[in-house]
C-alpha cells in the first residue's frame, strides 16, 4: 500500500509498504531517515521515539497505515521543531540538507547533550533527544523527578544516565535564560 505523511514538515510518500510494517521501518528503510533507531521493536528501549501529531510515541509500535495523513517529527527535524517553538519563523533548513538535518544549527537539547558529555555510543541518543525535547516543551522548568519520569521509556546502556540528567538540566537552564 501507499502511505502519505508529513515528516519534519515535508510531505512524503512511501510506496509498496507492507500492511504490517511499522512507522519506524518506513522512516528508516523507505524514507532514508535512519536517525530513529531500531533496537528492540517491542516498545522497551525508546530508541525509535518520534512525535506523531505532536505526541511522543515509539515508532516501532505504530503501524505504517496509522501514520497516513499524520505529522511526524524525527530527530532529523528536531532542531527545526525546537527552533520554531522558540519563535524562529523562517525555516532554518536553507543551505542545509532537509532530509538529514545536516548543517542545521542544533536544538538546545542536542547542544546540551554534547556539552554535558551525555553521548557515548550514541545509539540511544536520538530517542532521548526527542523525548527530552518534548518534556521541555511541556515543562520548561522540570524537577529531577520530572526528568526521570519523562525519560523512563528510554534505555541507555553506556552512560549510567547521570550525564543525560546533566544535559537535560543544562538545556532547561539555557532555555529559561534565553526566554
Amino acid at each position: 500500500m501507499r502511505v502519505n505523511l508529513t515528516v519534519n514538515g515535508r510531505p512524503q510518500q512511501a510506496d509498496d509498504v507492507w500492511e504490517g510494517e511499522s512507522l519506524l521501518y518506513v522512516l528508516r528503510e523507505r524514507l532514508g531517515l535512519p536517525g530513529s533507531k531500531n533496537a528492540c521493536e517491542q516498545g522497551e528501549c525508546g530508541s525509535c521515539t518520534v512525535r506523531l501529531d505532536g505526541v511522543l510515541v515509539c515508532s516501532c509500535l505504530v503501524a505504517a497505515g496509522q501514520a497516513e495523513g499524520r505529522e511526524v517529527v524525527t530527530v532529523e527535524g528536531l532542531a527545526d521543531h525546537a527552533g520554531q517553538r522558540a519563535g524562529g519563523t523562517e525555516s532554518r533548513t536553507g543551505g542545509t540538507d532537509p532530509r538529514t538535518g545536516e548543517g542545521t544549527e542544533l536544538s538546545p537539547i542536542q547542544q546540551a547533550f554534547i556539552d554535558a558529555g551525555a553521548v557515548q555510543c550514541g545509539f540511544c541518543t536520538p530517542g532521548l533527544l526527542v523525548a527530552a525535547d518534548e518534556m521541555l516543551e511541556r515543562n520548561p522548568d522540570p524537577t529531577d523527578e520530572d526528568i526521570r519520569e519523562a525519560l523512563s521509556g528510554n534505555l541507555c546502556r553506556c552512560t549510567g544516565y547521570e550525564k543525560i540528567m546533566d544535559a537535560v538540566r543544562l538545556a532547561a537552564a539555557r532555555q529559561s535564560e534565553g526566554s
Binding site: 511499522s22 521493536e41 516498545g43 525508546g46 511522543l56 510515541v57 515509539c58 509500535l61 505504530v62 503501524a63
Partner: protein
C-alpha cells in the same frame, strides 16, 4: 494482509461484521509487538485510530463512559477525581511513550491477567460496552474475562467504551514489580471503598488465569464493617479483621510459578497489598469523614 481504515464507528462495525477475523489495532502496543515478532499474521488489520468517539469520555451521571482508545496519559491527566484507582493503575503502565498510545480498550482486548487496568476496573465496578452491527450489550466486568487472554467479545463485536462507576470513596492500586518504570506486574491489587453502598470491592491481577475479585474476602469485610459499625463510627478497622481480609485475598489467588515470581510469593504479596490498600483507603475515608463532620 489488508489494512482496513474505517473513518467512523458505523463503518468500523460493518468492517468487523464483514471480516470477523480482522484484528482491531488501537494504540498498537500489544498488536505491533506480536506482528514485529511474527507471532501474529492477521489477514486484516482494522485501524481504530480515526474514530473520534473512541478517544472521548463522558462524565455525566453516576459513571464515566470511557472511550475504548482514550490513552492512559489522558486518564491520568483528566480523570483522577472520577476514577482514582484507574488513574493510579494507568500511571504504572510502561513508559510515557506507551501510555500516550495504549488504552483500556486494548488492555481489555488482550485480557492478559497482568493487564493493569483490570484490578482497578474490578474494584471500581464497570461494564464493557460491546457493539456490533447487531446492537449494543453491556458486559459486567466480572463476566468479561473468560480465560487466559480470552474475553467475552463475539467475533463481530468491538469495544465502544467502558462504563466505570465514579468513585464515591477512596481507591487504591498497588503493583509488585522489579523496578518502577516498564514492569509487567508480578502481581497487582486494586481496592475501592464504596461508602454509598457500604461495600468494599477488590481486583487481583497476575495471580490467577484471569483477573479476579476476592469475593470471599469482600463478603467477610463487608459483614465485619457493618457489624462493627465502622462506616458510621469511622474508627480504625480492628487489626484482626484486616489480617483475616488479607488472608482471604491471598486465598482468592490461583497463581502459577513463572519467570517473574513463584506462586507462593504472589500469594504472599497479594496479602500484603490487600492489607496496605485497605489501611490506606480506610485512613482517607476517616480523614474525609472527620473533615466533613
Amino acid at each position: 494482509m489488508d489494512f482496513l481504515r474505517p473513518a467512523g464507528w458505523e463503518e468500523a462495525l460493518a468492517a468487523k461484521a464483514e471480516h470477523p477475523t480482522a484484528v482491531p489495532i488501537a494504540g498498537g502496543t500489544d498488536v505491533m509487538v506480536e506482528i514485529n515478532f511474527d507471532h501474529r499474521r492477521p489477514a486484516y488489520l482494522l485501524d481504530l485510530n480515526r474514530i473520534p468517539e473512541l478517544h472521548e469520555w463522558e462524565t455525566g451521571g453516576d459513571h464515566v463512559r470511557l472511550g475504548a482508545s482514550v490513552p492512559y496519559t489522558k486518564i491520568m491527566e483528566n480523570l483522577r477525581a472520577e476514577l482514582p484507582g484507574l488513574a493510579l493503575a494507568s500511571h504504572t503502565v510502561a513508559s510515557p511513550q506507551i501510555r500516550n498510545r495504549g488504552g483500556v480498550g486494548g488492555n481489555l482486548g488482550t485480557a492478559s491477567p497482568a493487564g493493569d487496568a483490570h484490578p482497578a476496573l474490578l474494584a471500581a465496578g464497570a461494564e464493557v460496552e460491546a457493539e456490533s452491527v447487531r446492537g449494543t450489550r453491556l458486559i459486567p466486568i466480572d463476566e468479561f474475562y473468560t480465560g487466559v487472554k480470552r474475553n467475552a467479545l463475539q467475533p463481530d463485536e468491538l469495544i465502544r467504551a467502558v462504563r466505570i462507576r465514579k468513585a464515591d470513596g477512596p481507591q487504591q492500586f498497588s503493583k509488585v514489580g522489579t523496578r518502577n518504570a516498564m514492569v509487567i506486574a508480578v502481581c497487582a491489587f486494586g481496592l475501592a471503598l464504596h461508602p454509598g453502598t457500604r461495600t468494599v470491592r477488590t481486583g487481583i491481577g497476575s495471580a490467577a488465569p484471569t483477573p479476579v475479585r476476592a469475593g470471599a474476602a469482600e463478603e467477610f469485610l463487608n459483614a465485619a464493617l457493618e457489624e462493627g459499625g465502622f462506616w458510621d463510627s469511622g474508627r480504625g478497622i480492628t487489626p484482626s479483621v484486616v489480617r483475616r481480609f488479607a488472608e482471604l485475598c491471598a486465598a482468592a489467588c490461583d497463581p502459577i510459578d513463572d519467570v517473574r515470581g513463584t506462586a507462593g510469593y504472589r500469594r504472599h504479596a497479594v496479602g500484603v497489598m490487600a492489607r496496605r490498600t485497605l489501611t490506606w483507603t480506610w485512613e482517607s475515608y476517616r480523614d474525609a469523614s472527620k473533615g466533613g463532620a
